[in-house]
Symmetry: C2
Subunit: 388 residues, 2 copies
Amino acid sequence: MEYLQQSFSVRFDYKVFFTSGLFDPANTVLDDFLTADAASGSVKKILFVIDQDVLNATPALSDKIKQYFAAHKTVQLVSEIIVVPGGEIVKNDEAWFSKLLNTINKHGIDRHSYVAAIGGGSVLDMVGYAAAVAHRGVKHIRIPTTVLSQNDSGVGVKNSINYFGKKNFLGTFAPPVAVFNDDQFLLTLTNRDYRSGISEAIKVALIKDPVFFEWLENNAAALTVRDMATMKYLIKRCAELHLNHIASRDPFEKGSSRPLDFGHWSAHKLEQLTNFGVLHGEAVAMGIALDTVYSNLSGRLADDDTHRAIHLIKKMGFEITHPLLEVNSDDSPILVGLQEFREHLGGQLTIMLLNRIGEGVEVHEIDIAILKRAGEALKNEYSVLDTA
Amino acid sequence: MEYLQQSFSVRFDYKVFFTSGLFDPANTVLDDFLTADAASGSVKKILFVIDQDVLNATPALSDKIKQYFAAHKTVQLVSEIIVVPGGEIVKNDEAWFSKLLNTINKHGIDRHSYVAAIGGGSVLDMVGYAAAVAHRGVKHIRIPTTVLSQNDSGVGVKNSINYFGKKNFLGTFAPPVAVFNDDQFLLTLTNRDYRSGISEAIKVALIKDPVFFEWLENNAAALTVRDMATMKYLIKRCAELHLNHIASRDPFEKGSSRPLDFGHWSAHKLEQLTNFGVLHGEAVAMGIALDTVYSNLSGRLADDDTHRAIHLIKKMGFEITHPLLEVNSDDSPILVGLQEFREHLGGQLTIMLLNRIGEGVEVHEIDIAILKRAGEALKNEYSVLDTA
């Protein structure tokens, strides 16, 4: 057999900055990054895309950006700032993706210029995808504005839009050149959005970090009253665990293992079936609860750890189950979701469960009878668990 | 300044196989690859996309593929084989890209299944792009059928479609999982297509490999009469130089340097202005000739090396210049092309020239007066150069 072997590695580096008031004229974090990053030889441009929800909560944002780049001229601001709807709509309607490509073309954004996205995870997903494919990749800056995107999706390497009615059907793995987490955006979130992002911290603590889990238990009360210092620690630690996971395993997910998808297989189905009426973080909290109790009933996780996990989820104010997560018949939605997840992975099911708090374990089979009992237990005995 | 540093490397490995009669039932090269590659745990699928030009020249190809997978059942053949037009049209009309995405969705091609493309460079570009973004990347197999795609673009890591009337506006860097170069496809090429692919070999020899250049000089006569053993060596050596270049430098082209684009900046403009009436390889031959004579007139390349290069290009049967490559005024098309190339690179011009045969050198300025003289020299004194 005659062949040539091609082998190479591509290195990716980026920083996740933590700051307060990113566009305050005296804040140089962004400008310092641009000064260090921008290639010499020509003036680079930066195009901003802003989530409508963020702009509603911070109407002066566009003007602040313009004032910032009037004061800091390292990179030339494109005067047209694009506003897109927040949430799944921006990923469902291809027109937003097309509009952004059109704007990238119109303003001559090249591979050494920047497209910056300010918003929640959905907006970052769509903008990241457009930035990844225009000119085979222009430089992408992420400015996540929610707890969820600051501690989880926004610091990672994936982007996507929905297509054929399927979540994330189109997308790439394309690391950003930088992420800026600005805590001031968190002040504008509703309590529900604020809480929603905490479930990813519970998730990553349960599968990877017992010390962080204990910290969450000890700080649950402070988090529920939105103590900023506590939330800043949560976001930074959760982002760090997420980044470490990406760097240490399989950044572009060539294998079937998806440890960070703990609790997500049922959550994705629940979000979809409720037409995203249940928020991602809320669905993940229920998905974690389900897989935690399944871990217990299948003989992996001790009773005490199980109670601690469910107790924390409830204490944060999350619901722990939903009628759509119950197994009532052979075609219950959750069983359809299990099958879809199996297909999504390419045929072999791989699901993360828990051996103990801070230690996940992957399994390739789910026992439907036990899954049914787990749903019933959450609805019955766990629903009356004390949350004090 | 508070930040987390993310750093990781992603490794890519793939083989470029050389074979004859890939779908002959007794040829196990493809099946051996699939057996070694396919993840255990489930049946994987393979979807084929074929260039209409290839099918016209080899009408039995679809049946041969079906017979092959009837005999070799490692992977399940999707019964629908997609046929797309060859050449730029498949990259210009987004409908082909959409049709392929639709078929990937319809047949449940997942991240562990395969999309194989059989055709020239344009078809590989379009299919590679669809494969790269569907499910954030399904496995892509390339089966290039032209000299050009077997020795150059088909073994590389880029894909694309045209958009907004701009060549390669959308695309990604996404290595295939394997490339299969089957010499039997070369037998069906017209003389013009066959010759066209040779210019990339001249190019890479001129910038990297004086020994290969001498081999080309010594084997020019055999190549013009389509001696297969000689062409097989040319393709393998050219592919090897291309692969080594990608692996050793900047695989995903984060910098501005494009050594393999020697002769290409003017060629791209010429292709576009002639609406691809001048083939890519023909345009590259003229682009190489122009930059070679520019290298000479700007004091870099010796007269003898210049004559050898132009002599070889002519001996292979290529034209060495075109009226559209002449500088006649400030808005001559070639000057517009130079400006567009500057913008494409992000502001700083980087163009490969020659110091001697086998040694390129990058420059950041082009002297228009010298460029004008180079075009005149090709039209006048070099046009009468002996090709014996």
